[in-house]
């Protein structure tokens, strides 16, 4: 029974990674709001945090960030750093609370999208790639966050349908702890 669940999780993660990867490469460059482009790597990492949480989400955040860094012209390692930290925080605090609730999921994601986008662009400012904070906030951060939040809506709908609210299905703690317990015993 558990083996079946884990397989389903892995399949979901794989499909989600594929979808977000294709969207990041094919859709993001062609749909823009001013200077903003949707960040599907962030969407992927948040989805994994809400679905699975824990170590897997941190690893997924790192890989997604690296994918983003490699597909853009910015410095490599910056988005991977931000996304693994964001995934950790999201997996730690938001997972059980927001899973299954569309409003809370969107709210939590919006906060993360804004924070990650702002941190990314401020880091770019610090390495000397911009002339002012106003440009960074108004022309880069906000359009990026808005587009990313809009792009997350279908994913949020899917997440809330796939993981209805309630401790038995949303969750994480019971299933994860059992899973890790088995992992520790080589099962």
């Amino acid at each position: 029974m558990q083996v079946s669940d884990r397989n389903r999780d892995q399949r979901s993660i794989l499909v989600l990674a594929l979808v977000c990867g294709v969207l990041q490469l094919a859709l993001a460059p062609n749909v823009g709001l001013g200077n903003g482009r949707a960040n599907f790597a962030l969407i992927f990492s948040v989805c994994i945090s809400l679905m699975v949480g824990g170590r897997k989400s941190v690893l997924a955040g790192f890989c997604a960030g690296l994918f983003f860094d490699l597909s853009t012209t910015g410095p490599i390692g910056l988005m991977s750093l931000l996304l693994c930290v964001s995934s950790y925080v999201m997996g730690l605090e938001g997972r059980n609370r927001v899973s299954g609730d569309f409003g809370l999921t969107m709210g939590s994601f919006a906060a993360h999208a804004l924070a990650v986008s702002l941190a990314y662009h401020i880091a770019m400012l610090l390495v000397g790639q911009a002339s002012g904070l106003v440009d960074v906030v108004l022309l880069r951060t906000l359009p990026t966050a808005i587009l990313t939040i809009l792009a997350f809506i279908p994913f949020a709908v899917w997440l809330t349908r796939a993981q209805p609210s309630g401790p038995s299905l949303g969750g994480g703690r019971g299933r994860s702890s059992r899973g890790s317990h088995l992992d520790m015993r080589g099962l």
Binding site: P29, V58, T72, G77, L78, L81
Partner: protein
């Protein structure tokens, strides 16, 4: 299974167990890895190992970008149709009423004609300017919100290299900043970190054309003694040896002469705006005649000297009019600023 997962695991999870579930140790490791990657990337730029990795990644993922561009192109055509409908409502309404199929065919033909025109313009530009160049297709825009770039469908396998200038039929669009085997990334003129030696075609006043986050182009370092008017054409000056001399860049839309300022504030509208080109020419090498001649360099030097003289005379008049002992400071500051510009 209930026995193995019971009591201890559920009720009082150990610290190690908790840490594993939350991924704290993994986070710490990945943060360190990310910081190392970031540092290496920032220090090494695009020439290091990470540049090679990125180049390989972009080569591998280029088919997906092609698919994205192919899927998006019909929607761009659709947008053109809507634009035409609003532009000439009566004519197009009649046509639509007469025959929808004819309109669809008409749109296809228009698309083909525009493509043919663009390609012909590129060929004309190539012939007129005697450019040694290679044509390429734009396959996608900027992937991130940070930079204004486009990706083209050719790379090192076609002889492209970092630094090569790229132009559309209407004017220069930018310069290659990353080059994979089959794709290249072009930084656009409007990018904040873009900067090109340029001159005003009519007065030959030379300056630097720089981009900004707002997408506006500014022509800087043109002294207030020079004559620049709205509508003047700005072209590449050829100084620096990267861009051929005389390629069109844009048109002056605003000139401001602020009191006390040494340089004019000039806003330029680019000829080649993003979205208006699909085919581009990458200039692979420059002939001797396309580079700035020694006369051009002397002229630029003379312009700087004139600017220096002007600033010095301003300082002198300022110091003569004020007798409060600030002469040295005023002159020193102005001369220093001008010298910095010359450098």
């Amino acid at each position: 299974m209930p026995i193995s997962s019971g009591g201890r695991g559920k009720g009082t999870p150990s610290l190690r167990n908790n840490n594993q579930n939350n991924g704290g140790s993994l986070l710490a490791i990945l943060v360190v890895v990310s910081v190392v990657l970031f540092t290496v990337s920032v220090r090494g730029g695009e020439t290091g190992v990470l540049g090679g990795v990125r180049s390989g990644f972009q080569t591998v993922t280029s088919p997906v970008r092609y698919v994205g561009a192919a899927v998006a192109s019909p929607f761009q055509g659709l947008a053109n149709i809507f634009t035409n409908l609003t532009a000439d409502q009566e004519t197009l309404s009649e046509l639509k009423a007469e025959n929808d199929e004819l309109q669809s065919r008409n749109a296809e033909l228009e698309e083909s004609e525009q493509t043919a025109t663009r390609l012909q313009n590129l060929l004309d530009l190539k012939d007129t300017s005697q450019l040694q160049s290679e044509a390429a297709h734009v396959i996608s825009g900027s992937t991130d919100s940070w930079s204004s770039t486009v990706t083209i469908d050719k790379g090192t396998s076609s002889g492209f290299a970092v630094g090569m200038p790229v132009t559309a039929s209407s004017g220069v669009i930018g310069q290659i900043i990353e080059c994979g085997a089959t794709t290249s990334t072009v930084r656009l003129l409007t990018d904040e970190s873009s900067s090109i030696s340029a001159m005003v075609q009519s007065s030959r006043a030379q300056g630097m054309l720089t981009g900004s986050a707002t997408g506006q182009l500014s022509l800087t370092l043109i002294s207030t003694s020079q004559t620049v008017e709205v509508g003047d054409i700005v072209v590449t000056s050829g100084l620096g040896g990267v861009y051929p001399k005389g390629l069109p860049l844009g048109k002056v839309t605003s000139v401001q002469n602020n009191p006390g300022s040494l340089y004019l504030d000039i806003i330029v509208e680019p000829f080649a705006e993003y979205g208006s080109y699909e085919e581009v020419l990458v200039i692979t090498s420059l002939t001797e005649g396309q580079q700035a001649s020694s006369d051009d360099i002397s002229s630029a030097d003379a312009q700087d000297t004139t600017s220096t003289d002007a600033s010095t005379s301003i300082s002198a008049s300022a110091s003569s009019s004020s007798s409060d002992g600030t002469t040295g400071t005023t002159t020193g500051t102005t001369t220093g600023a001008t010298t910095g510009t010359n450098e």
